[in-house]
Amino acid sequence: MSGLEDLYREIIIDHYRSPRNRGQLETPPAHRAEGFNPLCGDEVVIFIDVDDDGLVTDIKIDGQGCSISQSSASMMSAAVKGKSVDDAKALTSTFKSMMSVHSAEIGGDGSEADADAQAIDTELPLGDLEALRGVVKFPVRIKCATLSWNTLSQAFDELASSPDTE
């Protein structure tokens, strides 16, 4: 099964089996955002608390999906918890460029190729998230890996535009 080991790294399976920050938060004060992968029906729901200083004080993940979408969501939650919204956004951009630079090279889905050149300058250490690098060899699975990140971006956008959450 050559190639599969690149996709299903041990750490991915670990996050899939024991997802971090699984559950829900009370809304409000938390904000809830949901994302769908219309191709496979996977669904991720993010509950996020951002304090007055723009810090992600808590995050919970709900929903269902494959090993790639679930482990990516789990790692994402661990990576952004306690970070500032700005750092979380920078991380999102770094992660997506890891996914999309390659997807552009292999002619993958252009809709994910929105990482701007800036992202390269602000590259943050991805840590465990590096394990998802192998996904780019399996273009149809890139959407699985980016689902929770797109939902996180959506949550930040919604927070920024909704006056009821200072």
């Binding site: 599969l4 999906g65 790639i68 699975r141």
Partner: protein, 411 residues
């Protein structure tokens, strides 16, 4: 053992004669789209190489041959499904367009506030969304026939659901569970209630003999690409007097008798519903697919698939036991050759990925039937489906690959 000589049949399918990473390709996704035999490909090539021109109206011989090819295909379809007349056979792009045609040309003039139509929880989105779109616009009610735990229609309240309804639109075979629905009973109940009936026969027409006249429905829709034909062509069969009474769907060339600055006069059947240049080579390919299916025999095909489904259900149970949960009826004769399943707690996407590395092609996802997925409490299933070119070797390859997937994720 089998009702069909699968080895011989496979020789007609060049695409199946390939290896993926050195492994024999095992194609188990015909419910999504089948493969096509050389006979279909060469019928289309032959048209393009020797007899192609736009159909109708051309006076030269090339155009006459193309028209004969196109209309000859219509005759083949009519005979294949037991239609009373070629006027009842409308070529569309696919089954989805056929259902949309009914929604627009029959639904729009006949449905409004206070009206109701009945769908089932087994339906493909193609037989849900066109009605929901129309309901938003016209304000009629959509009622749902529920489904039992083993994926069959729950008909306990059928007469109540049909009471006052104007249409029953229901599948003859689920593309998720393979469940065969009791069309005779459904049609009788709908007739009783004065409701018209549309049958989504996408999954049954390719796999078992169809007689639309005996069926007694008002409309039957199916797609060419699931029955060895090319993509880009579908069929709407409708009762002639009903089609006759309906306004056109799309407007344009080919569907008129006369056009003036004041307006237009629509053509008769079936041209009225075929605006624009139709799928000419695709119709010819579909005709060749029907010839091929009839040479094998629809009853033989059905028998082969029941045997193969029984073998698959038995082998899955023996080799994987409770690690596999198969959705749908447990009795092979109550279903088509479509097996949706869950493998332990491995997500369908991951199952398909591992199977692909073994050159086994199955489909993960919601199979365009999200209401049914919700009923089963799953986001996705893995689906394997068989056709005339599959045999027990393919099932054995499926089961072996599933064991690998189970073991891979058991680490």
């Amino acid at each position: 053992m089998s009702s069909l000589d699968v080895a011989l049949i496979r020789q007609d399918f060049p695409i199946l004669d390939q290896r993926q990473d050195g492994k024999k390709l095992v194609f188990l996704d015909s419910a999504a789209s089948s493969q096509r035999p050389r006979q279909v490909l060469s019928a289309m090539d032959e048209l393009y190489e020797h007899s192609y021109a736009n159909v109708h109206r051309g006076v030269y011989q090339l155009a006459e041959r193309a028209t004969n090819g196109y209309e000859g295909a219509r005759k083949k379809v009519a005979d294949f499904i037991g239609a009373g007349s070629t006027n009842e056979v409308v070529f569309t792009k696919n089954a989805t367009e056929a259902i949309n045609l009914v929604a627009h040309s029959w639904g729009r003039p006949n449905l409004g506030p206070g009206d109701a139509i009945v769908l089932s929880m087994l339906e493909h989105h193609a037989n849900i969304v066109p009605w929901q779109m129309l309901a938003v616009e016209l304000g009629f009610e959509i009622r749902w026939i529920p489904v039992t735990d083993d994926g069959q229609l729950d008909l306990a309240d059928l007469n109540t659901l049909l009471d006052g309804a104007k249409l029953l639109a229901v599948t003859s075979m689920s593309n998720v569970t393979g469940s065969i629905t009791p069309v005779d009973l459904l049609v009788a109940a709908a007739n009783n209630a004065g409701a018209k009936v549309l049958i989504d026969a996408c999954q049954s027409v390719p796999h078992m003999a169809t007689d639309v006249t005996a069926m007694g429905a008002d409309f039957v829709a199916f797609s060419g690409h699931k029955m060895l034909g090319p993509s880009g062509i579908g069929v709407l069969w409708g009762r002639e007097e009903l089609l006759d009474s309906m306004p056109p769907f799309l407007g344009g060339g080919g569907m008129i008798i006369n056009v003036t600055t004041e307006g237009f006069t629509a053509d008769g059947l079936p041209g009225k519903f075929e605006a624009g240049t139709p799928p000419i080579a695709e119709a010819v390919g579909l005709g060749a697919a029907i010839d091929y299916l009839q040479t094998i025999g629809m009853d033989e095909i059905r028998r082969h698939e029941v045997e193969l489904t029984a073998y698959a259900l038995r082998t899955l149970d023996e080799e994987l036991g409770s690690a596999v949960r198969v959705f749908g009826p447990s009795e092979p004769a109550a279903r088509g050759g479509v097996l949706s399943f869950e493998l332990a707690d491995v997500h369908a996407h991951d199952v398909s990925q591992i199977l692909d590395s073994e050159a086994v092609c199955i489909r993960p996802g919601h199979h365009c039937a999200k209401p049914l997925m919700k009923h089963f409490g799953v986001a996705a299933t893995a689906r394997a489906s068989v056709y005339i070119y599959n045999d027990t070797d393919d099932i054995d390859a499926l089961v072996a690959a599933l064991k690998k997937a189970r073991d891979f994720f058991a680490i």
